[in-house]
Protein backbone atom coordinates (compact mmCIF):
# COMPACT_ATOMS: atom_id res chain seq x y z
CA UNK A 1 0.00 0.00 0.00
CA UNK A 2 1.10 3.49 -0.86
CA UNK A 3 1.23 4.91 2.65
CA UNK A 4 2.37 1.76 4.44
CA UNK A 5 4.55 2.67 7.41
CA UNK A 6 3.57 6.35 7.28
CA UNK A 7 1.84 8.27 10.02
CA UNK A 8 -0.64 11.05 9.45
CA UNK A 9 -2.40 13.63 11.56
CA UNK A 10 -5.68 14.98 10.22
CA UNK A 11 -7.18 17.94 12.08
CA UNK A 12 -10.93 18.31 12.31
CA UNK A 13 -11.30 14.67 11.34
CA UNK A 14 -14.43 13.75 13.31
CA UNK A 15 -16.73 14.50 10.40
CA UNK A 16 -17.16 15.79 6.86
CA UNK A 17 -14.14 16.17 4.63
CA UNK A 18 -11.68 15.51 7.48
CA UNK A 19 -13.33 12.21 8.29
CA UNK A 20 -13.18 11.09 4.64
CA UNK A 21 -9.48 12.05 4.48
CA UNK A 22 -8.64 10.19 7.71
CA UNK A 23 -10.42 7.02 6.60
CA UNK A 24 -8.90 7.15 3.11
CA UNK A 25 -5.32 7.70 4.32
CA UNK A 26 -5.81 4.69 6.61
CA UNK A 27 -7.06 2.67 3.64
CA UNK A 28 -3.82 3.58 1.87
CA UNK A 29 -1.93 2.08 4.81
CA UNK A 30 -1.14 5.07 7.02
CA UNK A 31 -1.53 5.13 10.78
CA UNK A 32 -3.85 8.03 11.44
CA UNK A 33 -4.31 10.41 14.35
CA UNK A 34 -7.88 11.69 14.23
CA UNK A 35 -7.98 15.16 15.75
CA UNK A 36 -11.16 16.62 17.17
CA UNK A 37 -11.99 19.62 19.31
CA UNK A 38 -15.40 18.86 20.80
CA UNK A 39 -16.98 15.90 18.96
CA UNK A 40 -15.27 13.14 20.92
CA UNK A 41 -17.92 10.52 20.20
CA UNK A 42 -17.75 11.12 16.45
CA UNK A 43 -13.95 11.01 16.50
CA UNK A 44 -14.07 7.66 18.27
CA UNK A 45 -16.48 6.42 15.59
CA UNK A 46 -13.94 7.40 12.92
CA UNK A 47 -11.21 5.51 14.79
CA UNK A 48 -13.50 2.47 15.05
CA UNK A 49 -14.34 2.67 11.34
CA UNK A 50 -10.62 2.64 10.53
CA UNK A 51 -9.90 -0.24 12.90
CA UNK A 52 -12.77 -2.29 11.42
CA UNK A 53 -10.99 -2.16 8.08
CA UNK A 54 -7.78 -3.36 9.72
CA UNK A 55 -6.12 0.05 10.07
CA UNK A 56 -4.48 1.73 13.04
CA UNK A 57 -5.79 5.00 14.44
CA UNK A 58 -6.09 7.06 17.58
CA UNK A 59 -8.30 10.01 18.50
CA UNK A 60 -6.48 13.12 19.74
CA UNK A 61 -8.23 16.10 21.26
CA UNK A 62 -6.99 19.63 20.66
CA UNK A 63 -8.39 23.01 19.78
CA UNK A 64 -5.95 23.84 16.97
CA UNK A 65 -6.07 27.55 17.80
CA UNK A 66 -4.54 26.78 21.21
CA UNK A 67 -0.76 26.35 21.03
CA UNK A 68 -0.48 24.40 24.29
CA UNK A 69 -3.15 21.95 23.22
CA UNK A 70 -1.50 21.54 19.82
CA UNK A 71 1.89 20.84 21.40
CA UNK A 72 0.33 18.26 23.72
CA UNK A 73 -1.40 16.65 20.74
CA UNK A 74 1.85 16.32 18.77
CA UNK A 75 3.53 14.82 21.81
CA UNK A 76 0.76 12.26 22.08
CA UNK A 77 0.99 11.40 18.38
CA UNK A 78 4.76 10.95 18.63
CA UNK A 79 4.43 8.82 21.74
CA UNK A 80 1.87 6.64 20.04
CA UNK A 81 3.26 6.39 16.50
CA UNK A 82 6.91 7.41 16.96
CA UNK A 83 6.97 9.69 13.91
CA UNK A 84 4.90 12.00 11.73
CA UNK A 85 5.09 11.97 7.93
CA UNK A 86 1.86 13.66 6.88
CA UNK A 87 -0.07 16.61 8.30
CA UNK A 88 -3.48 17.52 6.92
CA UNK A 89 -4.74 20.86 8.22
CA UNK A 90 -8.45 20.48 7.71
CA UNK A 91 -10.05 21.85 10.89
CA UNK A 92 -12.32 24.75 10.09
CA UNK A 93 -15.36 26.59 11.34
CA UNK A 94 -17.77 29.17 9.93
CA UNK A 95 -19.39 32.18 11.60
CA UNK A 96 -21.19 33.70 8.63
CA UNK A 97 -22.50 37.26 8.63
CA UNK A 98 -22.48 40.23 6.31
CA UNK A 99 -19.52 42.48 7.06
CA UNK A 100 -21.47 45.32 8.66
CA UNK A 101 -23.14 42.86 11.02
CA UNK A 102 -20.10 40.72 11.69
CA UNK A 103 -19.04 40.75 15.31
CA UNK A 104 -15.36 40.90 16.14
CA UNK A 105 -15.66 37.60 18.02
CA UNK A 106 -16.96 35.94 14.82
CA UNK A 107 -14.01 37.32 12.91
CA UNK A 108 -11.53 36.25 15.57
CA UNK A 109 -12.97 32.76 16.06
CA UNK A 110 -12.75 31.94 12.34
CA UNK A 111 -9.28 33.41 11.91
CA UNK A 112 -8.04 31.66 15.06
CA UNK A 113 -9.20 28.20 14.07
CA UNK A 114 -8.89 28.35 10.29
CA UNK A 115 -5.62 30.28 9.98
CA UNK A 116 -3.77 30.40 13.29
CA UNK A 117 -4.59 26.71 13.71
CA UNK A 118 -2.79 25.97 10.44
CA UNK A 119 0.23 27.95 11.65
CA UNK A 120 0.28 26.18 15.03
CA UNK A 121 0.07 22.67 13.57
CA UNK A 122 2.40 23.31 10.62
CA UNK A 123 5.04 24.71 12.95
CA UNK A 124 4.88 21.70 15.24
CA UNK A 125 4.97 19.30 12.28
CA UNK A 126 7.82 21.13 10.54
CA UNK A 127 10.03 20.71 13.59
CA UNK A 128 9.65 16.95 13.24
CA UNK A 129 9.81 16.79 9.44
CA UNK A 130 12.87 19.05 9.08
CA UNK A 131 14.95 16.63 11.14
CA UNK A 132 13.84 13.71 9.00
CA UNK A 133 14.38 15.56 5.72
CA UNK A 134 10.96 14.58 4.40
CA UNK A 135 7.30 15.31 4.97
CA UNK A 136 3.97 16.29 3.48
CA UNK A 137 1.83 19.16 4.65
CA UNK A 138 -1.56 19.44 2.99
CA UNK A 139 -3.74 22.40 3.86
CA UNK A 140 -7.43 22.51 3.11
CA UNK A 141 -8.49 25.92 1.83
CA UNK A 142 -11.72 26.65 -0.04
CA UNK A 143 -13.10 28.03 -3.27
CA UNK A 144 -14.29 30.86 -1.02
CA UNK A 145 -10.68 31.78 -0.27
CA UNK A 146 -10.05 32.24 -3.99
CA UNK A 147 -13.32 33.70 -5.30
CA UNK A 148 -14.84 35.22 -2.16
CA UNK A 149 -18.43 34.76 -1.01
CA UNK A 150 -20.88 37.29 0.37
CA UNK A 151 -21.45 36.72 4.06
CA UNK A 152 -18.14 34.92 4.57
CA UNK A 153 -15.53 37.67 4.72
CA UNK A 154 -13.93 36.08 7.77
CA UNK A 155 -13.90 32.60 6.23
CA UNK A 156 -12.64 33.94 2.88
CA UNK A 157 -9.85 35.89 4.57
CA UNK A 158 -8.73 32.86 6.57
CA UNK A 159 -8.88 30.49 3.60
CA UNK A 160 -7.01 32.94 1.34
CA UNK A 161 -4.52 33.31 4.17
CA UNK A 162 -3.98 29.58 4.17
CA UNK A 163 -2.95 29.74 0.51
CA UNK A 164 -0.38 32.50 1.06
CA UNK A 165 0.93 30.82 4.18
CA UNK A 166 1.30 27.50 2.37
CA UNK A 167 3.24 29.02 -0.52
CA UNK A 168 5.61 30.77 1.91
CA UNK A 169 6.37 27.65 3.91
CA UNK A 170 6.55 25.54 0.74
CA UNK A 171 9.56 27.72 -0.19
CA UNK A 172 11.03 27.58 3.33
CA UNK A 173 10.75 23.83 3.63
CA UNK A 174 11.57 22.80 0.05
CA UNK A 175 15.32 22.46 0.83
CA UNK A 176 14.36 19.86 3.46
CA UNK A 177 12.34 17.74 1.02
CA UNK A 178 9.02 18.73 2.56
CA UNK A 179 6.17 19.34 0.13
CA UNK A 180 3.40 21.76 1.08
CA UNK A 181 0.25 21.93 -1.01
CA UNK A 182 -3.28 23.24 -0.76
CA UNK A 183 -6.54 21.61 -1.71
CA UNK A 184 -9.39 24.05 -2.32
CA UNK A 185 -12.74 22.27 -2.24
CA UNK A 186 -15.85 23.82 -3.73
CA UNK A 187 -19.29 22.86 -2.47
CA UNK A 188 -18.98 19.45 -0.88
CA UNK A 189 -21.91 17.63 0.75
CA UNK A 190 -21.12 17.96 4.48
CA UNK A 191 -22.78 19.22 7.65
CA UNK A 192 -21.23 22.61 6.92
CA UNK A 193 -22.93 23.00 3.53
CA UNK A 194 -26.12 21.20 4.63
CA UNK A 195 -26.68 24.13 6.97
CA UNK A 196 -27.18 26.45 4.00
CA UNK A 197 -30.77 27.37 3.02
CA UNK A 198 -32.17 25.46 0.02
CA UNK A 199 -32.48 28.68 -2.04
CA UNK A 200 -28.76 29.33 -1.65
CA UNK A 201 -27.93 25.71 -2.42
CA UNK A 202 -29.86 25.96 -5.69
CA UNK A 203 -28.11 29.22 -6.53
CA UNK A 204 -24.72 27.61 -5.84
CA UNK A 205 -25.50 24.73 -8.16
CA UNK A 206 -25.79 27.13 -11.10
CA UNK A 207 -22.18 28.19 -10.56
CA UNK A 208 -20.80 24.66 -10.78
CA UNK A 209 -19.96 23.64 -14.37
CA UNK A 210 -20.23 19.95 -13.47
CA UNK A 211 -23.73 20.67 -12.16
CA UNK A 212 -23.53 18.81 -8.85
CA UNK A 213 -22.13 19.01 -5.37
CA UNK A 214 -18.91 17.22 -4.55
CA UNK A 215 -18.47 14.25 -2.27
CA UNK A 216 -15.94 14.33 0.60
CA UNK A 217 -14.14 11.45 -1.16
CA UNK A 218 -13.45 13.72 -4.14
CA UNK A 219 -11.26 15.75 -1.77
CA UNK A 220 -9.83 12.72 0.03
CA UNK A 221 -8.50 11.17 -3.21
CA UNK A 222 -6.49 14.32 -3.99
CA UNK A 223 -5.14 14.48 -0.44
CA UNK A 224 -4.14 10.82 -0.72
CA UNK A 225 -2.18 11.60 -3.87
CA UNK A 226 -0.49 14.65 -2.31
CA UNK A 227 0.41 12.57 0.76
CA UNK A 228 2.04 9.86 -1.35
CA UNK A 229 5.43 9.54 -3.03
CA UNK A 230 3.72 10.04 -6.39
CA UNK A 231 3.62 13.79 -5.76
CA UNK A 232 7.27 14.30 -4.75
CA UNK A 233 7.83 16.99 -7.40
CA UNK A 234 4.73 19.03 -6.56
CA UNK A 235 4.90 21.80 -3.96
CA UNK A 236 3.31 25.18 -3.33
CA UNK A 237 0.28 24.33 -5.46
CA UNK A 238 -3.42 24.92 -5.03
CA UNK A 239 -5.51 22.05 -6.38
CA UNK A 240 -9.15 22.96 -6.92
CA UNK A 241 -11.70 20.25 -6.27
CA UNK A 242 -14.81 22.19 -7.13
CA UNK A 243 -16.51 20.81 -10.21
CA UNK A 244 -14.90 23.51 -12.32
CA UNK A 245 -16.00 26.61 -10.37
CA UNK A 246 -12.49 28.06 -10.57
CA UNK A 247 -10.72 27.66 -13.91
Amino acid sequence: MELEGRTALVTGASRGIGRAIAVYLAELGAQVAVNYSSSEQRAIEVVEAIKEKGGRAIAVKADVSNLQEVEAMFEKVLNEFGDLHILVNNAGITRDALLIRMKQEDWDAVLDTNLKGVYNCSKAAAKIMIKKRRGKIINISSVVGVAGNAGQSNYAAAKAGVIGFSKAIARELAPRNIQVNVVAPGFIETDMTAALPESIRQEMLKQIPLGRYGDPMDVAYVVGFLASDKSQYITGQVIHVDGGMIM
Binding site: K127, I130, K131, E172, P175, R176
Partner: protein
Protein backbone atom coordinates in the same frame (compact mmCIF):
# COMPACT_ATOMS: atom_id res chain seq x y z
CA UNK B 1 34.40 19.04 26.42
CA UNK B 2 31.68 21.49 25.35
CA UNK B 3 33.54 22.04 22.09
CA UNK B 4 33.55 18.33 21.31
CA UNK B 5 29.82 18.03 21.96
CA UNK B 6 29.09 21.11 19.84
CA UNK B 7 31.36 19.82 17.08
CA UNK B 8 29.53 16.49 17.00
CA UNK B 9 26.18 18.25 16.65
CA UNK B 10 27.53 20.47 13.88
CA UNK B 11 28.97 17.48 12.03
CA UNK B 12 25.63 15.71 12.22
CA UNK B 13 23.46 18.72 11.34
CA UNK B 14 25.58 20.21 8.56
CA UNK B 15 27.15 17.04 7.19
CA UNK B 16 30.68 18.47 7.39
CA UNK B 17 33.91 16.71 8.45
CA UNK B 18 34.96 17.05 12.09
CA UNK B 19 38.36 18.45 10.99
CA UNK B 20 36.64 21.39 9.30
CA UNK B 21 35.05 22.50 12.57
CA UNK B 22 37.28 24.85 14.58
CA UNK B 23 36.44 27.60 17.06
CA UNK B 24 36.97 30.14 14.29
CA UNK B 25 34.74 28.44 11.73
CA UNK B 26 31.90 30.67 10.54
CA UNK B 27 28.65 28.75 10.12
CA UNK B 28 27.53 30.42 6.91
CA UNK B 29 30.83 31.32 5.22
CA UNK B 30 32.97 28.35 6.24
CA UNK B 31 30.56 25.53 6.97
CA UNK B 32 28.02 26.23 4.24
CA UNK B 33 25.02 26.59 6.55
CA UNK B 34 21.83 28.33 5.41
CA UNK B 35 19.34 30.11 7.66
CA UNK B 36 17.25 27.00 8.19
CA UNK B 37 20.41 25.02 9.10
CA UNK B 38 21.14 27.58 11.81
CA UNK B 39 17.62 27.27 13.23
CA UNK B 40 17.97 23.49 13.29
CA UNK B 41 21.39 23.75 14.89
CA UNK B 42 20.03 26.02 17.63
CA UNK B 43 17.20 23.54 18.26
CA UNK B 44 19.67 20.66 18.51
CA UNK B 45 21.91 22.62 20.88
CA UNK B 46 18.95 23.54 23.07
CA UNK B 47 18.06 19.88 23.29
CA UNK B 48 21.61 18.68 23.99
CA UNK B 49 22.41 21.27 26.63
CA UNK B 50 18.89 21.54 28.06
CA UNK B 51 18.69 25.30 27.59
CA UNK B 52 16.69 27.94 25.76
CA UNK B 53 18.53 30.19 23.33
CA UNK B 54 16.36 33.28 22.66
CA UNK B 55 16.17 34.51 19.06
CA UNK B 56 17.98 37.76 19.87
CA UNK B 57 20.94 35.76 21.20
CA UNK B 58 20.82 33.26 18.34
CA UNK B 59 21.13 36.10 15.84
CA UNK B 60 24.47 37.13 17.33
CA UNK B 61 26.02 33.71 16.86
CA UNK B 62 28.21 33.49 13.79
CA UNK B 63 31.14 31.21 14.68
CA UNK B 64 31.56 27.89 16.45
CA UNK B 65 33.47 29.77 19.18
CA UNK B 66 30.42 32.01 19.75
CA UNK B 67 28.34 28.91 20.44
CA UNK B 68 30.87 27.42 22.85
CA UNK B 69 31.18 30.70 24.75
CA UNK B 70 27.41 31.09 24.89
CA UNK B 71 26.90 27.60 26.26
CA UNK B 72 29.66 28.06 28.85
CA UNK B 73 27.93 31.22 30.05
CA UNK B 74 24.36 29.96 30.03
CA UNK B 75 24.32 26.18 30.42
CA UNK B 76 22.85 24.67 33.57
CA UNK B 77 25.44 21.89 33.51
Amino acid sequence: MIFEKVRDIIVEQLGVDAEEVTLDSKFIDDLGADSLDIVELIMALEEEFDMEIPDEDAEKISTVGDVVEYIKAHSKE
